[in-house]
Amino acid sequence: MIRAAAALIGLISVVSCQRYVDTTSRPTLTVFAAASLQPPFDRIAQQIQATPRINYAGTQTLTTSLIQGARADVFASADSAHMKTIEDTGLLASPPQVFAHNRLEIAVARGNPKGIHGLADLARAGLVVVLADPSVPAGKYADQALAKAGVKVRPASLELQVTAVLTKVALGEADAGIVYASDVTSSGKVDGVQIPDSQNVVADYLIGNLSDRPVAREFIDLVLSAKGQAILTESGFGRA
C-alpha cells in the first residue's frame, strides 16, 4: 500500500517535472502581464512559435516579483510608473514601448438595476462600490478619475487586481466597480457605464523586453503588428 503510494507520487513528480523542463524543441516564452490583458494576450500567445507561459496579476505584484528575481522574457504593464521601476532596475534589454491604451468604465450588474449613470452616483449611500487598491494601476487611475469628478467614494473593498473588482460585480456582491473598458468588453457578465472624457483617465500599457531572446522579440513584434493591434481593439483596448 505504502509502496504503491510512493511509486505513484514518484511517477507523478517525474511526469510533472517533464512539463517544466524543456524537453521539446519548442522554446517556452514567459510573459508577465497585467491582469487586464488576459483576453487579448491569451489569443496573441497562441500565434507564436513557442509554448507560452503567462503570469497574469496586478502590475504591482509582477513588478515586485521581477525585482526579487523572477525570470521572464516579456513584461507588459498597465502603467508607465511600474515599467519605469523595472527599467531603472536595469532589467530591460531595450526601451519599453506603448502598445495599447485603456479607459475606465463603471462596471454594473446586467441591466443596471441600481440606475448608475456616472461617477457621482457612486457616492450614493447604501451602494456597495469596490475599487482596486491604489497600489494597483487601475486603483490609481480610479482615484484620479474620482478626484477629477470631485466625487468621494467609500469603497467596500480595495482589490489587489482589477479582475477581482470585475468578479465582485459579476458575482453580484458589489453594485458597482471602476474597471477598464476592456474588462467590460471581455467579461460579458456586466454592463459598462461610460465615464466622460473630462473625468476619465487614459491608461498607457507598455511592453518591455526582459530577456532579449528571439521569442521575446517575436512576441513583442506580434503585439505591435496590425494583427496584434486588431486583437487588442476587439478586446476593448485602444490602439498604441
Partner: protein, 261 residues
C-alpha cells in the same frame, strides 16, 4: 541507555530540512530594517491592521469555542458511518486550500448565495466586505483545530467521573458543565490557542470572502501582502510581529508540544 546513532545520509537530509525552515526566518530577521521597524510598528496603518486582527482572531476563537466544543462532544458520542462523515466534514477546512474556502463562503453567504440571498432579501444584510465576514472566514478555517483537540481530550477522558456524577443524580447538562468541561480544560486551552494562531494567520479565505479594506477587513496578513508591494520594509516589520506571536504560542504550549518526554 545509549541512543541509536542517526545514519549519516539521514542526518544530512535532516539538516537540509531544518535549513528550509530556518533560512527564511533568519532572512526575515537579518534583512529587517531595525531602525524602521519601530516607526513602522506604530504607524497608524499598522496599528489599524493589528487591532483588527486581534479583534477578528479573538472573536473567531470565541465562536469556535461556542460551536466547536459541542461539535467535538457530538463527534465523540457518535459512531460508525455517521461519525466518519461528521469527522470528514469537520476536518475538511484543515486540508482545503483557504482560497477555495473563501470562494465557497462567497457562494454560500454572498448576496446571491445559498444562505446569503434570503438573508439579504429579508433583513437587507450583506455579509461580504464586513468585519463579520473576516470573522466567519477565520472561524471556518480555524475551528477544526479546536474540534480535533477537544475531541482528542474527550476520548482520553476517564468517563467514570461522569458516570459517578450521573449515579449521584446529576442531569446531562449538569454533568457536562460541572464534570466534563472542567476535565477538558487542558484540551480546550491548547485547542483554543492553536485555533487562535491559525485565525490570526488567515489570508486566502479572508481576502476572497471579506475583501481588503483597511480598518474593516484588512487584517495583518493582508496588510503584509499589500505592503510588500509598496513598502517592503513595512511588510517585514508586520511579518516580525506575526513571527513573534507564533514563537510566543510555541513557547506557551511547550509543555504540550515540546516537553513531556
Amino acid at each position: 541507555m545509549t541512543q541509536a546513532r542517526v545514519p549519516g545520509p539521514l542526518l544530512a537530509l535532516a539538516a537540509a530540512g531544518l535549513l528550509l525552515f530556518l533560512l527564511p526566518l533568519a532572512g526575515l530577521v537579518a534583512r529587517a530594517p531595525w531602525d524602521q521597524v519601530g516607526p513602522a510598528l506604530v504607524a497608524p496603518a499598522t496599528l489599524t491592521a493589528l487591532e483588527l486582527s486581534i479583534f477578528c482572531s479573538l472573536t473567531a476563537t470565541a465562536a469556535a469555542l461556542v460551536l466547536g466544543i459541542p461539535l467535538a462532544l457530538l463527534l465523540s458520542r457518535t459512531s460508525g458511518t455517521l461519525r466518519a462523515v461528521l469527522r470528514a466534514l469537520t476536518t475538511l477546512p484543515m486540508v482545503l486550500p483557504p482560497v477555495v474556502g473563501g470562494v465557497a463562503l462567497l457562494i454560500a453567504f454572498g448576496r446571491r448565495g445559498l444562505a446569503g440571498a434570503p438573508l439579504y432579501a429579508v433583513f437587507g444584510v450583506q455579509v461580504p466586505f464586513t468585519t463579520a465576514a473576516a470573522v466567519v472566514a477565520e472561524t471556518f478555517v480555524a475551528m477544526p483545530f479546536l474540534v480535533i483537540a477537544v475531541e482528542g481530550g474527550l476520548r482520553a477522558l476517564d468517563h467514570r467521573y461522569e458516570e459517578a456524577a450521573r449515579a449521584l443524580g446529576a442531569g446531562a447538562w449538569k454533568v457536562f458543565l460541572r464534570v466534563t468541561l472542567p476535565l477538558l480544560r487542558p484540551a480546550i486551552f491548547s485547542g483554543a490557542v492553536l485555533c487562535w494562531a491559525r485565525a490570526l494567520g488567515e489570508f486566502g479565505a479572508t481576502i476572497t470572502f471579506a475583501g481588503n479594506l483597511p480598518g474593516t477587513t484588512q487584517t495583518v496578513p493582508l496588510a503584509v501582502y499589500v505592503t510588500n508591494e509598496t513598502r517592503p520594509e513595512g511588510a517585514i516589520a508586520l511579518s516580525l510581529i506575526l513571527l513573534a506571536v507564533s514563537l510566543a504560542v510555541l513557547v506557551g504550549l511547550r509543555d504540550r508540544w515540546l516537553g513531556a518526554p
